[in-house]
């Protein structure tokens, strides 16, 4: 992607999740880093794919509070590919045990972030990898 183009991020929470502090913070911190953030809450995998296509985003970021992340990744990644979004960067963050990171990696999630990190760490990762990784 060209340097002068603004990176567009879909920040999604899955359907039936609760608490929004982490996701709202990361939305604001990514905006601080100059990105455009579409804040999308409470979608099932299909809704998230539709939003990603409609908004033509470069990144899909999933915020997790009440688990179900493995299943969401397994549902979402093939659907993104089917919808022609094979080049979208998919990241996850929140209450996710480290032991599940390899499973998510296998499902095609590019990177998982633990809670509490500065948003700039996530922004740097996005800047470095956006447009360069394909979905498996």
């Amino acid at each position: 992607m060209a340097d002068n183009q603004q990176i567009k991020v879909l920040l999604a929470k899955k359907k039936i999740d609760v608490h929004g502090r982490g996701s709202k913070l990361i939305a604001r911190e990514l905006q601080d880093a100059g990105m455009e953030v579409v804040y999308f809450r409470f979608g099932v995998a299909d809704d998230i794919v539709d939003a990603a296509v409609q908004e033509d985003v470069d990144v899909v970021a999933l915020s997790i509070m009440t688990s179900g992340h493995n299943q969401l990744a397994r549902d979402l990644i093939p659907k993104l590919k089917e919808a022609g979004k094979d080049d979208v960067l998919v990241i996850m963050g929140g209450i996710i045990p480290e032991a599940d990171y390899p499973t998510l990696d296998e499902a095609g999630v590019h990177r998982v972030f633990p809670p509490g990190l500065p948003g700039s760490a996530v922004a740097e990762y996005i800047e470095e990898h956006v447009g360069k990784l394909a979905l498996p």
């Binding site: 709202k24 913070l25 911190e29 009440t66 209450i95 996710i96 500065p118």
Partner: protein, 554 residues
């Protein structure tokens, strides 16, 4: 002000001499609420009022009870709930065996529902998939509630039901279960959360504000007249603090939340002494130890004043009864075991602050639902405080401390200022509608995060002493067969009931919702009737959604 004597003045002059060399190098400190903190407090900070208070006496800064925890200690109310009622039932029995107790040895079950139940869908609903029984128990049918109360004596068992929008249906299902056992609902003890106003800060879709408040009051009114021991509403200050409110903001907005319930109750024609005394609180607690102690002290006397002004006359109806849930937000995924120290500090602050009930988080809640072991350690943390540390021997042990008394006053003053601002602009309900409260708390959350990012607010293991070493721990694994089991329980229940009767019950409930909206009748009796006729949690929520709307606050 208390007049310092000559010997104090001499000591203070000596003190000034001894620190003169470095005093101007000391960096001024602020607490989490942004209030300035001095390095030393003295008799000069004592006011006459600090010398005039006793525990158990209005305005209750020093505690609700004359002898603190001496007669009976705080309630250990650990949150739990997982899988179907079968798994949760096992856990209830285990927790009783582990010594989890309420006042005078009563049983206390602080049961959290899964998100599908809170949101109001049954196990076979497509949106429930992958969420069943995961972060709470899935409890929806008459069978489930019969199993919940089986063999527990209603007079000595407290059922706290951590519900969402299903708050009214859940109580209706509990009442119907008690009746099936041949008992009067008046024997019920426990809590409905009635957390509708939390939509001010939590991004969960819920009822439209007007109906949200009407439903909340309907439950309060039913309880006041039918189940006098039932606590019908919990003022969820914890939700405010976890969303990012500072301790002073938590006080101000939380008390405004409480005031909005009082106003709505009075408007609905309830008598102040009929319902105000049954309102209670759940409050957050961070590890800012002294600030939190001062917060609990200030909270009690502010609430007492609000209740008295609203017309409550019995002193016990001015009691701010408080359950503390230690903070989940401050737990770190990095270096997980460190969280045990944080949890201990928070629980200590709650005890020194004189609260009535505590849930201690488990150290691994930063990564998943707690394991058996981490949950037990959290309970034992309370029990060590209760039995080993001597902290329950003396009521309000920090009362009279120059610092704590001064800080209590400062917290109170700052909180009143913000509270008055909310009240002057139309109160908490209006603050939900305009989004002002959410905006203010989001801003505080952002400021805090910036301070953590910059290192100004230290977080051990995150912005200092960080480590790249991978952690080795066993985390709780969700049993995927739970989903199937929950669906089978539901199917089994539906097969045994009279479907035609359920259809008629749902038609009646639909009419009742409309009549309730028109101000013609109360809703709780209609929900209880539906529960008696076999209607489930998710089924009751369908006509309710149709009638009371769908509102997402932004």
């Amino acid at each position: 002000m208390v007049e310092p004597n000559e010997r104090f003045r001499e000591a203070k002059a000596e003190w000034e001499k001894r620190r003169a060399r470095y005093a101007d190098k000391l960096v001024p400190r602020k607490n989490l609420s942004g209030l300035p903190v001095s390095t030393v407090y003295t008799v000069e900070h004592l006011e006459d009022q600090h010398l005039e208070e006793m525990p158990g006496v209005y305005p209750f800064s020093r505690g609700l009870y004359p002898d603190g925890y001496a007669l009976t200690p705080w309630m250990q109310q650990m949150v739990f709930g997982y899988g179907t009622i079968e798994e949760t039932r096992d856990k209830m029995e285990k927790m009783v065996a582990e010594g989890m107790e309420g006042y005078f040895g009563h049983k206390v079950f602080n049961v959290v529902y899964d998100v599908p139940c809170m949101y109001g869908v049954d196990a076979d609903h497509p949106e429930a998939e992958n969420n069943l029984g995961q972060c709470g128990v899935h409890m929806s049918t008459g069978d489930d509630y019969d199993e919940l109360i089986r063999d527990w004596e209603l007079e000595t068992t407290n059922f706290s039901m951590i519900t969402g929008d299903n708050c009214l249906p859940a109580l209706a299902l509990l009442v119907a279960a008690a009746e099936r056992r041949g008992e009067d609902p008046a024997a019920l003890h426990g809590n409905s959360m009635n957390w509708y106003p939390r939509i001010a800060v939590q991004d969960v879709p819920s009822w439209e504000p007007k109906w949200g408040y009407a439903l909340m009051i309907d439950l309060i009114k039913w309880s006041a007249r039918n189940a006098p021991h039932w606590n019908p509403a919990n003022i969820f200050m914890y939700g405010l603090s976890e969303a990012g409110a500072s301790p002073v903001e938590e006080l101000a907005y939380g008390l405004a939340w409480g005031k909005s319930i009082i106003d709505a109750g009075l408007q609905a024609g309830l008598d102040p002494d009929e319902f105000i005394g049954r309102l209670s609180f759940q409050i957050g607690c961070t590890q800012s130890l002294f600030e939190e102690v001062a917060k609990f002290r200030a909270h009690r006397r502010m609430w007492a004043k609000i209740c008295r002004e609203a017309g409550a006359t019995k002193p016990s109806n001015m009691h701010a009864r408080v359950h503390v849930h230690t903070s989940g937000y401050v737990l770190t995924q990095q270096q997980l075991m460190n969280n045990n120290a944080r949890i201990t500090l928070q629980a200590l602050a709650a005890v020194l602050g004189g609260v009535q009930s505590i849930h201690t988080c488990s150290y691994d809640e930063a990564v998943a639902v707690p394991t058996e072991e981490s949950h037990r350690v959290a309970l034992r943390t309370q029990q060590i405080l209760m039995h080993e540390a001597g902290v329950r021997d003396v009521a309000d042990p920090l009362g009279g401390s120059f610092y704590i008394e001064q800080l209590t006053d400062q917290m109170e003053e700052a909180a009143w200022e913000l509270y008055e601002k909310v009240e002057a602009s139309g109160g908490f309900l209006r603050g939900i509608e305009t989004g002002e409260i959410k905006q203010a708390i989001d801003d505080s959350s952002y400021d805090y995060k910036q301070r953590v990012n910059s290192g100004e607010t230290p977080v051990v293991g995150v912005n200092m002493y960080a480590s790249d070493e991978p952690q080795d721990y066993e985390h709780f694994r969700i049993d995927e067969s739970i989903e199937e089991k929950a669906r089978n329980r539901l199917t089994g229940y539906r097969e045994r009931r009279d479907e035609a009767e359920v259809e008629r019950a749902l038609d009646d409930l639909r009419d009742a919702c409309e009549a309730f909206k028109a101000g013609e009748r109360d809703l709780m009796p209609a929900l209880i009737e539906a529960a008696r006729r076999g209607v489930t949690n998710g089924e009751m929520m369908v006509p309710m959604r149709e009638a009371f709307g769908w509102y997402v606050s932004e």
